[in-house]
């Protein structure tokens, strides 16, 4: 791609590191330079934090699989990308913050909700939700913001129904989810939003304990009751994680996927001729955008050598998966979007025991969206040029803020 400029790297080992994407989706040029010259590098983040940046695919996989790297975000050495340290909260440690052996036990308690079979059973309902939102778009004014009309409400409704969270409250948690992934949000605001969500989910869990419901939260309550006492804090923490994770991820992938396929109509046409290839295309789109890169951090809890570099206990590590997903050692023409690449060996869902629990739900939603949106709105096109779009370069999850489309 012509817009990637590679400048010579200074000899200074603690190089300042920007996290802002360019191009607009590609990792910053300096991340690539690191991958080529120092795949495990000491860097200084814009917030002043000095951490290790890991850019090679192989090393990222190794670290994410190694229990000597902790997921405990509340450890003082854990890297953060916000300007200030995230505020402390009363929220019980979430699944993504746990280490073994607690992590394995906690994950296994909810794993059964996300088996391929269970997720596939949601297919007809997801199709219906997608179709209803397209019906509403077709009946409404043009241009319309795809994010608000489609990309956000579809996965939002899906996760709400799965969890058993009333969709009527969607504005409440959609705005709060957005605050939680906005790296410029003030710590006091983040603290307030976490508190509001905890209260909301606490009330919801308490109501479900009174009147059992057949949804993920209801089933978790029943499951905990069978094995002893209901741990409300545990359920609030789980609901918190799944609700946020279900909002800011698939929604951004839907917008970015739509944009890139509209920009490359030959690739879209090839997909429409062979819908059996959609799942492989989804995999490649996940790799190409790697939207949740900035959520991948660890802190070493022992001295560990990675790629000939010693990482000491207590030091923070950032796994730059977007750059790892463009590693030429693993992917040929890695900067190209090749929908027929057929490689699943990417890091978009992370790696190791914490790998995204909802990955098969995300795959299915994206598959249904791709197979439906362009078929039902064949004239779909961006209503503004790409350089007028605002990308979420300062968010934990990359995406498009507003995407006006017409047809």
């Amino acid at each position: 791609m012509s817009c990637i400029e590679v400048k010579p790297m200074s000899a200074d080992l603690i190089a300042p590191l920007t996290m802002t994407r360019t191009c607009p989706h590609a990792p910053p040029a300096e991340h690539r330079r690191l991958r080529a010259e120092a795949p495990v590098a000491r860097v200084k983040l814009p917030n002043g934090l000095t951490v290790w940046a890991v850019t090679a695919h192989e090393h990222i996989r190794t670290i994410l699989s190694d229990p000597r790297f902790s997921s405990n975000r509340r450890d003082p050495g854990f890297p953060y990308l916000t300007r200030e340290r995230p505020p402390s909260s009363d929220l019980k440690r979430m699944l993504l913050e746990l280490d073994p052996p607690e992590h394995g036990q906690a994950r296994r308690s909810v794993l059964g909700e996300f088996t391929l079979q269970r997720i596939r059973a949601l297919g007809p309902r997801i199709q219906q939700i997608v179709d209803e939102h397209i019906d509403a778009m077709l009946a409404g004014p043009r241009p319309v913001d795809l994010v608000q009309a489609f990309s956000l409400p579809v996965p939002s409704l899906v996760i709400c129904e799965l969890l058993g969270v009333p969709y009527a409250d969607h504005e409440f948690f959609q705005t709060r989810s957005a605050t939680l992934v906005n790296q410029n949000a003030a710590p006091e605001e983040v603290g307030r939003v976490v508190g509001e969500l905890m209260t909301y989910l606490g009330n919801l869990v308490a109501a479900k304990a009174q009147n059992p419901t057949d949804d993920l939260l209801g089933r978790q309550i029943a499951r905990q009751r069978e094995s002893g006492e209901v741990d409300y804090q545990d359920l609030v923490s789980m609901a918190f994680l799944l609700l946020i994770a279900g909002h800011e991820t698939t929604a951004n992938m839907i917008s970015l996927t739509t944009l890139v396929l509209l920009q490359q109509p030959d690739k879209l046409a090839a997909l429409q001729r062979a819908p059996a290839k959609t799942l492989a295309a989804v995999e490649e789109l996940l790799r190409y955008f790697t939207i949740a890169e900035q959520a991948l951090g660890r802190v070493a809890i022992a001295d560990v050598e990675i790629g000939g570099v010693l990482i000491r206990a207590g030091e923070g590590v950032l796994l730059l998966a977007n750059t790892g997903n463009r590693d030429p050692e693993v992917f040929t023409d890695a900067d190209e979007l090749d929908l027929e690449r057929g490689s699943r060996n990417h890091l978009a869902f992370g790696f190791g025991p914490h790998q995204c629990l909802g990955q098969n739900l995300a795959r299915l939603e994206l598959q249904i969206v791709i197979d439906t949106l362009f078929r039902r709105i064949p004239g779909l096109r961006p209503a503004v040029p790409e350089d007028e779009l605002s990308f979420k370069v300062d968010a934990t999850v990359y995406g498009i803020r507003e995407f006006p489309v017409t047809w």
Partner: protein, 65 residues
């Protein structure tokens, strides 16, 4: 090819089931089930891929030429 699985390492991502559904399945609780410990040659590439992308390194392969 002989396939070995380690249930303790399985983190239930389900990728093996997606890639090689004739060789792997999941229990109701998400943990891997091995359907065929000596899969036929035409499935070897898929099984190798499943082992490679398994996030928990729960799939081991013994290959003899």
């Amino acid at each position: 090819m002989r396939v070995l699985i380690d249930e303790n390492k399985c983190c239930g991502a389900g990728q093996c089931v997606l890639i090689a559904p004739r060789v792997f399945d999941q229990r109701d609780d998400g943990i891997v089930i091995l359907l065929d410990q000596a899969p036929p040659k035409e499935l070897h590439a898929a099984v190798r891929e499943a082992a490679c992308v398994c996030p928990g390194a729960a799939i081991a392969l013994e290959e003899r030429e």
